[in-house]
Symmetry: D2
Subunit: 370 residues, 4 copies
């Protein structure tokens, strides 16, 4: 398969860096363009970026010239780690210009025409892109805390019905980017507040688990209550969940359903797919962010401490790698799914964009490439 040219938007940021890391030697995608703020534009990526990853900057990425956000791009797929202060209009403009924007930003997640997808759960929502009035399209993945919550409740909802969820998060500092949380505020401390996070956790899962009917998503009527905390952990969001189910399965049944969960990415054997999207641990004191976040290359949802909840029915602790499955990795898995589902190939699945003026649309570049 010929590789697809991709760009990374917000390339110098924390999520942008993770995109570049995870896209290194990717079998489907080739990073050709990097976009960052005007301050970085014109420099080589190696110069522009305060690289914070554990391994050195991939050579070819380091040599790319960083483009400004106003410059035209040639890549078909744009992975967006743009800051929410600019992502809204920029992503819309890129989509209008014919690009497929795979975004990790929150701005468009709840737009009615924008798919908000976890491919193990609702890959059929990608079809929403046909209702977008762009030549290209915008596709999003959930918030870093939402994704693990939704992964945990999706199989339970399908099997037993979920009525309500109480969730408290203990979130890693890497979720706030760099410079992010000042060390004076978090060393030996807990900050019981993350702006906008609780709202996202209480609404995004309802759309993801919702049914697509025509070009409208009917959200599920699950009541979710979230309390979000920042803790002095580097990577890995921990969440405590109490869940009220419609039916009354045994803990063993719950465990079996969680542990046995699998979805389209596993079926397709996608490059970034975890072998098991949900890992259930039985040790009494796991999962732990500093120990277990990297299981399944950071792409799994780890569940432990499954037990009865006197108030809501069942409770458990869940964990996930917030900058991998919780951000860049989720977006990349969305893109991989769309590629394999033919969204970039098959004529009748193309966006219905009309204004074809500047850059190749998804379908045009499709034709061009084959």
């Amino acid at each position: 398969m010929e590789k697809i040219d991709v760009a990374v938007l917000g390339a110098t940021g924390t999520v942008g860096q993770k995109f570049i890391l995870l896209l290194q030697n990717h079998p489907y995608f080739e990073v050709r363009e990097l976009v960052a703020s005007e301050r970085s534009a014109g420099k080589s990526y190696a110069e522009a970026c305060n690289w914070k990853q554990d391994i050195p900057i991939p050579k070819n990425a380091g040599q790319l010239r960083v483009k400004g956000i106003e410059e035209d791009l040639k890549s078909r797929i744009l992975f967006s780690g743009l800051d929410s202060s600019v992502a809204g209009t920029a992503e819309t403009r890129y989509a209008e210009d014919g690009h497929l924007v795979i975004s990790n930003s929150s701005n468009h997640r709840m737009d009615p025409q924008v798919p908000l997808v976890i491919p193990e759960i609702n890959s059929e929502h990608f079809q929403l892109i046909y209702s977008q009035q762009h030549r290209g399209a915008i596709v999003t993945n959930p918030n870093c805390s939402t994704i693990f919550l939704t992964m945990a409740i999706a199989p339970l909802h399908r099997e037993f019905g979920v009525e309500a969820v109480n969730v408290t998060t203990l979130q890693a500092i890497s979720g706030a980017g760099h410079p992010g949380v000042p060390s004076l505020d978090i060393l030996g401390n807990v900050i019981p507040y993350i702006g906008g996070e609780e709202e996202k956790m209480e609404t995004e899962p309802l759309k993801i688990l919702g049914a697509l009917s025509g070009d409208v998503i009917e959200p599920v009527p699950i009541k979710i209550s979230a309390q979000c905390n920042r803790v002095p952990v580097y990577d890995g969001h921990t969440e405590t969940l109490s869940i009220k189910l419609t039916s009354n399965p045994s803990l063993a049944e719950v465990r079996r359903v969680l542990d046995g969960f699998s979805g389209l990415p596993q079926e397709l054997g996608l490059p970034s797919a975890p072998e098991k999207p949900i890992l259930v641990l039985d040790d009494p004191d796991r999962p732990q962010p500093a120990r277990d976040s990297w299981l399944e290359k950071g792409m799994a949802t780890i569940i432990g401490r499954l037990r009865p909840c006197p108030v809501l029915g069942i409770k458990m602790v869940i964990l996930g790698h917030n900058t991998v499955r919780g951000a860049a990795g989720a977006a990349i898995l969305n893109a991989e799914t769309m590629v394999r589902q033919g969204y970039l190939k098959n004529g009748d699945r193309l966006p219905k964009g009309q204004r074809r003026t500047r850059t190749p649309s998804l379908s045009e570049s499709d034709r061009a490439s084959g």
Copy 2:
């Protein structure tokens, strides 16, 4: 008022040290005896103790000779910070010998004849000591996480009725004592498990909020579900609460009831009583353990982020200093209350102990001093 001689049991441990710290220059109590393990017995306290507090060892305490757990004691009140591995039988024996044991240990908390008291809430439960078959008596205070939870729900239960509570804790390492949690296990990590803690949080409040009828406590039928986590914080337990009330007050009413709460220790102006047992903060990102634990000298329950809960009705974040109000300070406030309520003075309120053989009982030493 003549000072009452007191001993500290488990004096070299974390809680024991805090007892000695908080009893320094106490207007009611004079530390006369210190008890620790056989390894320490015979040494001066300064020698025996690996002192970990911020200020130097109080001089007179440092010079006391540490006694072994088998030695007879002369003090009327014994503050116990004994480890639960020995507290059970040792405290019983001390009580049989006529001492008033004010214990922070968990062993006897749920014994039907043992008062489990937060004096702002249920000081009348102290009367349970008359049902104990000792010459002396055992009195306990709740677990370090339970106390703040119970303080937060007590005024709400009284005013509106509490039906259910979901609580997740983020607990400081000092709660595990020294050496306690290995740094390799908790630096940059979360441990989602603290042995026995959840059971304590789910049961102790029911007894504290229960009604004394004769010499039996009728526990309240509140459903509590706890999830306990250790986080890399030095002092201060943070807890997220979701609460289901019987009636449906406005948030403003809830806030008013919490903020206006006051109890017997405040009325009596006890030396260790916080001016306000509950402080309600309105900043969006408070309370924080590294900032707010020492408010009211570590004796208050700090509440913030009061807001609606889509699942249970209201939610909030609470915080307290786990080794002050959560341990030694709670025990001392219990003792102060008992002194001022005349438990150590008034003949007809004395324990009904019969076996008067070795050391002065509460009543005898009472007569001696009065």
Copy 3:
């Protein structure tokens, strides 16, 4: 004694907040004016300030209206915690206008006419202000790491002669202010670099220990080599020192000289003076920043692990509270010393400022008040 009106420059910053904290109820000084950036100007201090101290904002300070850096001030003494990006010209202008600027900023420390003073060591250097061409004057205290180093070597230099010092620092994050060091950079990490810090440590002590001859300071010819590191500690700078002395005293003599050190602030009994400016600890594993920084109310230099150095002769570990004795406390002690030495009273000790146009000079307000 009538209190002297003072202002705090850079009042919303980390050092500024510490000034306000330490000046609360000060017997000599009354905080009347607060200066901060234009963004804060016009607001009440409580509104403008992201207060980070352990106790609430002092009431009177909280109510003061914050002034911009361009506004005229009435206070005689200005405590400056201004950022070095603006301190240079601003402090000069304030001094020209007749104020006594007691600065913690680095900008003017090495100016030949500006005293750089630790009052236990070189209070006679205050006389340098008479060589300044201002109606007022600028006085400075050393860098937060320099001050403890200089305190440790000053008595040794006086008694035995110091030829060379090798010092490695382990500095707390509070030294970098707020937001300061991003948590992603320092949690579980060491940053072996602090911009400009090593240069300050290698030069400032030479001036402080130098002899005033006329209006020129002859720096001492001690060779100092510094290596500065940031570590994940909240407050308290630790430093390892290896020292080459001219003579060859025993360790016991060295210990005696350090432990017996005392200076003018102790002699005068100044309000902020530590009883002992140097504390020598004999425990093998002390001093420790999280345990010992607050000894002597954060105003002492704590020394431990005194032992022979195979390379340079003697070695030791020192510690000090970087935002108290290392910053605001040092400046306040300078001011207290000057007040008690009559610099603000005695006509013949006044600055020789000529341009008397706008605000009262040190001498004028002197006359006014006396």
Copy 4:
């Protein structure tokens, strides 16, 4: 090449676990036996071990039955991570029984007949084993802080002559094993003391850099002064060095010599050898333990901040992974070197052990396998 059977002594400890991790799929060695305390003996390794590594227990190791320290072993090479409380006599006994003990323990390092080897520097010292009065032999690697110090000064000593070194360490908590340092002691703190560490750093390098003459090592006359600190870092020891050289090279020459350093393991292309044993970084704020410890798979010594030292001549910051190159990895590299140098094959290089009674000696099993 047929794999050599090896055992891990102290297999459940921190270093033991790292041995098992690093020996997984090793081309020369096959882990066949695991030895731990009596408490673990008889259990499977998976049961006995509180596994703390980032990846799951290697399957075959997990299934091995743990042996007690008194049981006979069959493996030719024993990798020892035994605690120093037992390593002394146990290792001697194993060597007497004919095993080659590759030890990370400190007990025998300074024995005159025991090689203390960094194979890039002094692999010829392995010949010392022929002077041991055992059928087998003991070989050691240096202390975790010593090894990086010695790696940094070895090329400089060879090229320019080293006269004196002043070193301050900032050591990670993993160096103290598990449970090791209590979190209450190190969270947000520095402990300026590590028992015995400074003595090791001041003596071990002199032996390593010494010349073998006959069967005696002549230590080099370098003066070393060490100050050792524990800091809240997970993995990676940072050290600040000031070095006095005999000659006076430019910094560029020093950099060239360090960066160009290579040794026998590189020449032989040993499986655990870093491509470059010394990496010189030029960024002003590197190396950092949380960023750079894993460079070269944790087997390199990372050097940064090379600059002049006003006191001793040159200074720098060095870093290494304390549990990889500083412990298990160093021992494994020693074993690999010995294998490739024929110590286990070539008859005339065999230990001169006489008492051949119980288990096959190095030579016997050699014959058996070849």
